[in-house]
């Protein structure tokens, strides 16, 4: 039994937590799936490896309503989402127990996920129990942005309009995101109708712009939006374009500091007017 499984078993057996959110292999799909463990005896089934892409922080706001205390296994990126959820008072820290193994990176479609190259915290910043050694990581640059940066405006639109045109508006990107939690999404609100319901290019573009804007300065870069997209739209590009600005101009790395408000809700009298003129 690994340390993680052992701890999970202990917590469940001792009644410290009512349920534990982690991953389990499902032989039918030959893959892992987020699973809610309720018995200590099942803890041996918990897996943590490069297949565990899902951001489990997403389930916490609902689960903490249902259970008194929920344990959760978090990668570094999931932990950053959780930090922001805690800052925004979506979850009470007392109702969760965070198990934070050191993450070696995850794979999407057989290849190392792009987000992992830009990951600032391989271990969750929120951790009640840590496993493995916490590694300090260099702040890698958002490499995937480079090809966008090289393009002219027209080329960018060419690229993004092709991507947006594919969007089916299934809102998997919204649902999979731990920080997209509005009760009534702007895309669903009938009045004012900012984003039309039918799937056409301009409405799709509106959706993706608004989605990215609402995550500005909050996105923990877990990359789930891109992974969940059934059409393979590189949704994450929009987020990291903003996060690059947020990091360079406002000095913020969302989710890494538990006591720091997101940059778009804090006041910054000392920003220079030039932030409005910054170019990608």
């Amino acid at each position: 039994m690994t340390d993680l499984q052992q701890k999970a078993r202990e917590l469940l057996d001792q009644g410290e937590i009512d349920a534990l959110l982690a991953w389990k292999v499902d032989p039918a799909i030959d893959d892992v799936r987020p699973t809610l463990f309720k018995k200590g005896d099942d803890a041996a089934e918990i897996v943590f490896d490069e297949r565990c892409v899902h951001n489990l922080a997403n389930y916490l706001p609902t689960l903490t309503v249902r259970y008194n205390r929920v344990g959760v296994v978090l990668k570094g990126c999931d932990g950053r989402s959780l930090t922001t959820l805690l800052i925004e008072h979506r979850i009470n820290k007392n109702s969760i127990v965070a198990l934070a193994p050191a993450c070696e990176g995850v794979k999407v479609n057989g290849a190392r996920a792009q987000k992992c190259d830009d990951c600032p915290t391989a271990t969750s910043p929120v951790a009640d129990y840590e496993f493995g050694t916490r590694k300090a990581k260099d702040d890698a640059e958002f490499k995937q942005l480079e090809r966008i940066e090289k393009m002219s405006s027209e080329e960018r639109w060419q690229f993004f309009s092709e991507q947006f045109a594919k969007c089916r508006r299934c809102y998997a990107c919204r649902q999979v995101c731990p920080l997209c939690y509005c009760e009534l999404c702007i895309a669903d609100q009938p009045e004012p109708r900012w984003i039309e319901p039918s799937r056409k290019l301009s409405a799709n573009a509106m959706w993706h712009l608004v989605r990215a804007y609402h995550l500005a300065g909050r996105c923990s870069d877990c990359g789930e939006c891109s992974r969940a997209c059934p059409e393979g739209i590189p949704i994450r590009l929009l987020n990291i374009a903003v996060e690059k600005l947020v990091r360079e101009q406002f000095g913020a790395r969302p989710g890494t500091k538990p006591d720091e408000l997101p940059p778009l809700v804090t006041l910054a009298k000392d920003d220079s007017d030039e932030v409005m003129e910054e170019h990608l």
Binding site: F159, F160, K200, V210, L238, A241, L245
Partner: protein, 147 residues
């Protein structure tokens, strides 16, 4: 589906803070400073009220350029609205730029109630600078519905 083209005579949507820039625009009018006629003005309670979704929508609806003007830093009627606006607008610009709206199609600035002349100048300069796009595709504009 090809996007419509940018106009020679650019259409501008201006979001103006009611406490300063709107009064500035008023002053420009009463002082008879001339500025381009196709600037359409939307009065907002504060530049901080300008949700980037409004800017996105303006481009989708086919405007060539979007102007946002508020009180100078430190002068906000509500204390801090324009500081928030500054960050929001920076993000809006970054997003639009990323998907291919040329950053020069947005103009964010401060205009006080006394700066009628500045308002006229801002509009004129902005409209002039938009003319360089004439004939280029109007990215993000809502495609004309297919026949």
């Amino acid at each position: 589906m090809s996007a419509p083209e940018m106009a020679k005579d650019p259409k501008i949507l201006a979001f103006l803070c009611r406490w300063c820039s709107y009064a500035g625009a008023d002053l420009a009018g009463t002082s008879r400073f001339s500025y381009p006629s196709n600037v359409r003005i939307v009065q907002v309670p504060c530049s901080g009220r300008v949700d980037p979704v409004m800017i996105f929508k303006a481009f989708v609806e086919g405007y060539d350029g979007v102007l946002v003007a508020g009180c100078h830093p430190g002068d906000c009627h509500y204390g801090t609205g324009n500081y928030h606006a500054r960050r929001k607008l920076a993000v809006a610009r970054r997003l639009l730029e990323t998907v291919g709206v040329h950053p020069d199609r947005m103009f964010f600035t401060w205009v006080s109630a006394a700066e009628g002349r500045k308002f006229a100048e801002v509009c004129t300069t902005f409209a002039e600078s938009l003319k360089k796009f004439a004939g280029r595709p109007k990215t993000l504009a809502r495609e004309a519905l297919a026949k």
